[in-house]
């Protein structure tokens, strides 16, 4: 394992020190492991709070700031935050108008956020939860853990954050987040596995000529292995997978997120975007907005995910609303 770390145990603490040093516009509580907008809670504003395992940066810490999150709780690498952290974030960010959680659908995240919401309720703070579950590689059924939350988290945090910034109620903020999630579907392909610092080895071994199709963002293997092919063919399969479980069709508009998983050059992501654009054009789907880059990563995994959000006037308005965060800025 070759990594720019001090020790595997101190990865999160050391990264938080760096985030604090780099971003004076954020308040970093290193003991509680909470990252907040500087300046304390805003009275009367709904607090939008998210969190999840570390290793997906800039998600979620990079989206703390005006127009998106009020607070983010980073857990250990690929491990959800604990209820104490989330409760600390609630108490530090609550402006008296309620709290909306954005939770990616993983058993651990769901349980820890749920316990935190119960603890907050005992203290008289109402917490609503928006569950992000956009990954079509996982079958959604009551017999499984359900679809995973991946790239759509960016769209959900943007939409919910915009409504909160405009003074929306907790119900309105949650509804915007839910709308963004329902309108989004994602699918990912990996060219190499991620190496968790504490594990010291890649999560799986992938031969030179193979890719993992339908991979998640936690180093877990995908649903199947397939031969490496030209980007055009891989992208065609990914677009097909996303659209097969989407309401998007000819005449619709979409927000396209081509997201790098951590170790893929932007040059390649643009190649992917070009192929996505060609495929969507063939189907008569218009690209209304686009985002290309590393937003929901999986440590040093190579590959990309595609998120397509069916866009209506309301979602586009929220997508375009001002935001000022380390990873996403809108004037």
């Amino acid at each position: 394992m070759k990594k720019l770390i001090n020790t595997p145990e101190s990865v999160l603490d050391d990264a938080l020190a760096g985030i604090a040093a780099a971003h004076p516009e954020l308040t970093v509580d290193r003991a509680a492991r909470v990252v907040l907008r500087a300046g304390g809670p805003r009275p009367g504003k709904v607090a939008v709070i998210s969190g999840g395992g570390s290793g997906h940066e800039p998600l979620h810490v990079g989206f703390v700031g005006p127009g998106m999150l009020d607070a983010a709780c980073p857990g250990e690498v690929f491990t959800s935050p604990v209820p104490d952290q989330l409760l600390a974030a609630i108490k530090a960010a609550d402006g008296g108008a309620g709290v909306v959680f954005v939770v990616k659908n993983y058993t651990g995240d769901v349980l820890n956020f749920q316990l935190a919401a119960e603890l907050a309720a005992e203290d008289g703070i109402e917490v609503r939860t928006v569950l992000v579950n956009d990954d079509v590689a996982v079958r959604d059924s009551t017999w499984t853990a359900g679809r995973r939350g991946t790239g759509a988290a960016v769209v959900v945090e943007k939409a919910a954050g915009a409504v909160a910034e405009r003074g929306g109620t907790a119900a309105e903020v949650a509804a915007a987040g839910q709308l963004a999630n329902s309108a989004s579907r994602s699918f990912a392909v990996a060219l190499s596995a991620a190496t968790v610092p504490a594990a010291g080895r890649p999560g799986f071994e992938l031969p030179e000529d193979q890719v993992e199709v339908g991979v998640g963002i936690h180093g877990e293997p995908g649903r199947r292995r397939a031969p490496l092919r030209p980007a055009r063919e891989l992208v065609a399969e990914v677009v097909e997978a996303v659209l097969s479980e989407h309401t998007l069709s000819a005449g619709h508009e979409t927000i396209v997120l081509v997201n790098g998983l951590g170790a893929t050059p932007l040059l390649e992501l643009y190649i992917v975007f070009g192929e996505v654009a060609a495929k969507l054009a063939e189907r008569g789907i218009r690209i209304a907005r686009s985002l290309v880059g590393n937003y929901v990563t999986s440590l040093d995994m190579a590959g990309f995910s595609l998120t397509l959000t069916k866009a209506d006037a309301r979602l586009l308005d929220l997508w375009d609303a001002p935001a000022s965060t380390p990873a996403l800025r809108r004037p």
Partner: protein, 208 residues
């Protein structure tokens, strides 16, 4: 079970988790994300410190509850809330200073119910429930048959280990391994494996 045995169990569990961390990591890397060993080790290290800070007259239930609360606060992931709730619920069901096998079996049954309610898993889903359920059932049978705690705990440990091994051919329906679908077949579930370690630790602490 008295306070000393509860403390002995949790300390033996911490030692077992530490010793088997590489194995748990390897199992989790195969069908999950490879952090189960590290997360549990971090949690049980914190449990050891919490136990040292407990007043000496803390009853059995209080010891187990404190361990559960500590796991919830330190582990994260699904394992933190699940193991933490299991121990807290088990502890809450043991208000007396000491518990016999029947009490312990009933309390652990309540702990198992808490896990199933939180995680939604049933036996056969390839989760910790596949080791937890047979272990509790073995304790219940042993209590009915009038076995000693040492014998009962040994039977529970064997049942849990068998349950963990029997997850190998299963396709995961809950937890992160479920994302692999049929590719989860052929691997032993890391959660069931760590549950078996905890029941083996109970047997060790009971002198088996």
């Amino acid at each position: 079970m008295d306070t000393d045995l509860a403390l002995g169990w949790l300390r033996a569990a911490a030692a077992a988790v530490e010793q088997h961390e590489p194995e748990l990591t390897a199992l989790d890397a195969a069908i999950g994300d490879g952090d189960h060993g590290a997360n549990l080790r971090r949690g049980f290290t914190a449990v050891l410190a919490a136990l040292d800070a407990l007043p000496p007259d803390t009853p059995v239930g209080g010891v187990l509850s404190r361990a559960g609360t500590t796991l919830i606060s330190t582990v994260g992931g699904a394992a933190g809330p699940l193991y933490g709730s299991a121990l807290r619920t088990t502890g809450a069901a043991l208000p007396a200073p000491a518990a016999d096998i029947t009490d312990l079996a009933a309390a652990l049954r309540a702990g198992l119910s808490a896990v199933q309610k939180l995680g939604g898993a049933v036996p056969g889903d390839k989760t910790m429930v596949d080791a937890f359920e047979p272990a509790v059932a073995a304790l219940e049978r042993a209590a009915f048959d009038g076995f000693s705690l040492r014998e009962a705990a040994a039977l529970a440990a064997e049942a849990a280990e068998r349950g963990a091994r029997d997850t190998v051919p299963l396709e995961a329906r809950k937890g992160r391994a479920s994302y692999l679908g049929p590719r989860s077949v052929g691997h032993q579930d890391p959660g069931a494996t760590s549950t078996a370690l905890l029941f083996r630790a109970l047997a060790r602490a009971a002198g088996a």
